[in-house]
């Protein structure tokens, strides 16, 4: 199998697989391996009314919500640890009722992606019994009428084998999953370095899979140690080579978080006007990820480049600028 017909420019991949009202899942976790280049492109193409599925997500989710691309979000967590105690645009959108949301736990979201990947209707779990995650439903009745949305958030029933209480969590089957990884082989084999989070389950649950990557590697190189690979190429619909495609989030083995950029974003995005300025300057005001990176500047990219063998930048100054 050749990669040729799947290897697309970023704008073409987004144009081909995203559409108004699509149900999408984003890979990565809070400030790590968010598919940021793809997120910026979705915003530039003004795709609207997205239904978003994430577990613990940060920068990508916040940008999409802030830019008005998201109608509903099902999530476990919207923050970036020390870099954003709560994602600022997610927070505003929820407080103002500008999006619909449904809260789950991380474990629950991952089981839902796994159910989608296995093509079973639901997965059972014990986590969350006795909580408001079980007691309170977030989506409106109208949202539940969307045939792609589960008829209810979850169900509690008696386990037929032991008689104990168990929660059933509905499968997620997104139209598109977008995941940023380190390597794709020349025949499409995907290799994630470091933590996989729930990217593999998410990728297999989706009808279409867009992979953005740091490098295209010779296929035979990846096949020398197949146990390190994450996904076979035939599951992938589009491959886009985008170096620094997760910036300003981290990509293990390639670059660390751009702490300065994340602090700047948080401060700007905490007001409507500031966020508008950020969006104009860093997303809408540039035509491509290459142009965005030129704006970030070589000096900054060098500053965050991972220290060989560590996977992150040793000694990176991560203090909040005064």
């Amino acid at each position: 199998m050749k990669l040729d017909d799947k290897l697309l420019p970023l704008d073409e991949a987004v144009k081909r697989y995203l559409f108004d009202g699509a149900h999408i899942a984003l890979g990565g976790f809070t400030a790590s391996r968010n598919p940021m280049a793809a997120v910026y492109e979705i915003i530039r193409q003004r795709v609207r009314n997205l239904h978003l599925y994430v577990h613990s997500h940060g920068q990508g989710t916040d940008l999409l919500i802030g830019a008005g691309c998201v109608k509903r979000v099902e999530l476990a967590y919207g923050a970036l640890g020390r870099y954003a105690p709560t994602c600022p645009r997610f927070r505003r959108a929820v407080e103002r009722g500008e999006v619909e949301w449904e809260d789950y736990s991380n474990y629950q979201m991952v089981l839902r992606f796994l159910a989608g990947a296995l093509n079973v209707p639901f997965m059972p779990a014990k986590t969350g019994l006795g909580t408001d995650i079980v007691a309170k439903e977030g989506f409106s009745e109208q949202a539940r009428r969307d045939p792609k949305v589960a008829r209810r958030k979850l169900a509690v029933m008696e386990d037929p084998f032991t008689g104990e209480k168990v929660i059933l969590l509905p499968a997620i089957k997104p139209d598109v999953a977008i995941i940023h990884v380190q390597y794709v082989g020349s025949e499409g084999t995907v290799r994630i370095k470091g933590l996989r989070f729930a990217d593999v389950e998410m990728a297999k649950a989706a009808k279409h899979l867009i992979i953005t990557c740091e490098e295209i590697a010779p296929e035979e190189e990846l096949r020398r140690e197949p146990e390190l690979n994450s996904l076979p190429g035939f599951l992938v619909d589009a491959v886009v080579k985008v170096p620094f495609g997760a910036h300003p989030t981290a990509c293990y083995g390639f670059y660390d978080v751009d702490a300065k950029h994340l602090y700047m974003y948080y401060d700007l995005a905490s007001s409507d006007e500031g966020f508008r300025r950020y969006l104009e300057e860093w997303v809408l005001g540039v035509s491509s990820h290459e142009e965005y990176l030129r704006k970030v500047g070589e000096e900054r990219l060098k500053e965050v480049a991972a220290t060989p063998t560590y996977g992150f930048k040793l000694g990176l100054d991560r203090r909040r600028p005064k």
């Binding site: 577990h55 014990k126 995650i133 209480k165 660390d256 100054d317 203090r319």
Partner: protein
């Protein structure tokens, strides 16, 4: 010896970790507590993260649980499913260290919102793995600043299950193991009565007055069992300041 209450909080919480515990750590103060414990009195404790990094040596302090710093040198780098299978494994004494915006007298936690769930006044990040740690771990320890608005009679949203409504209500809800062990604040350490599962003050830090604790708690608190906590040792402080958080990323100024 001079120390801040935040430093005392990290050290007091670290003392609750036993050698050999398998610690499910959130970033921030929980991670400081776990790392101090590992370097001072519990060298065989294992730190792992919900993101799937198991037994990370942490040459630098991570600032979020997906930080590349948790991946370096780990025994296994996997994913969330693997992390939750360790958290809930019955042969593992897993201890979850969790923060929260609000806590009630039974150690139930809110990290979702203040106000009505559908029209919140303030929205927080949500559960993340907190509900999972609280539901499934062998036990969990809570970190929260001691403020009246955080120690509330009734949570605005119950994100993570503690002792629910006390007594054996947790077990009856379908959670056969686990539950909160302690709540560590900047004033002291609170524990739970064995029968009623209600919170009581177990320790207060040197210099803290009992009235100060009650005044900052939004419900009636039993302080009759409280004793003064041991101040930090010079070794605990040295490790915390020089080895764990030399940039004072979490400890602050």
């Amino acid at each position: 010896m001079n120390y801040t209450r935040r430093e005392m909080m990290a050290i007091a919480a670290g003392r609750l970790i036993r050698d050999g515990d398998v610690v499910f750590a959130g970033t921030g103060l929980p991670l400081l507590a776990a790392t101090v414990a590992k370097k001072v009195h519990a060298p065989r404790c294992v730190i792992f993260f919900e993101t799937g990094a198991i037994d990370s040596p942490l040459p630098e302090l991570p600032l979020y649980v997906a930080d590349s710093r948790v991946m370096y040198g780990a025994s296994v780098n996997a994913g969330l499913l693997e992390a939750f299978s360790i958290l809930s494994n019955p042969k593992v004494r897993s201890i979850a260290l969790l923060g929260a915006a609000q806590v009630d007298r039974y150690g139930n936690l809110n990290s979702t919102c203040v106000g009505d769930y559908h029209r919140p006044r303030v929205r927080f990040p949500g559960s993340g793995g907190a509900c999972d740690g609280a539901s499934l771990a062998w036990g969990f320890i809570v970190f929260v600043p001691h403020e009246r608005r955080r120690f509330v009679e009734k949570l605005d949203y119950l994100t993570s299950p503690g002792w629910l409504s006390g007594g054996d209500s947790r077990r009856r809800a379908g959670l056969p193991r686990g539950g909160p062990i302690a709540v560590v604040t900047d004033l002291g350490v609170l524990r739970f009565d064995e029968q009623t599962k209600e919170m009581y003050l177990a320790e207060y830090y040197p210099g803290v007055k009992l009235e100060e604790v009650q005044a900052n708690t939004g419900f009636e608190l039993d302080v009759s069992r409280a004793v003064e906590a041991e101040p930090p040792s010079s070794e605990e402080l040295r490790v915390l300041r020089e080895e764990v958080d030399p940039q004072r990323l979490i400890l602050g100024g």
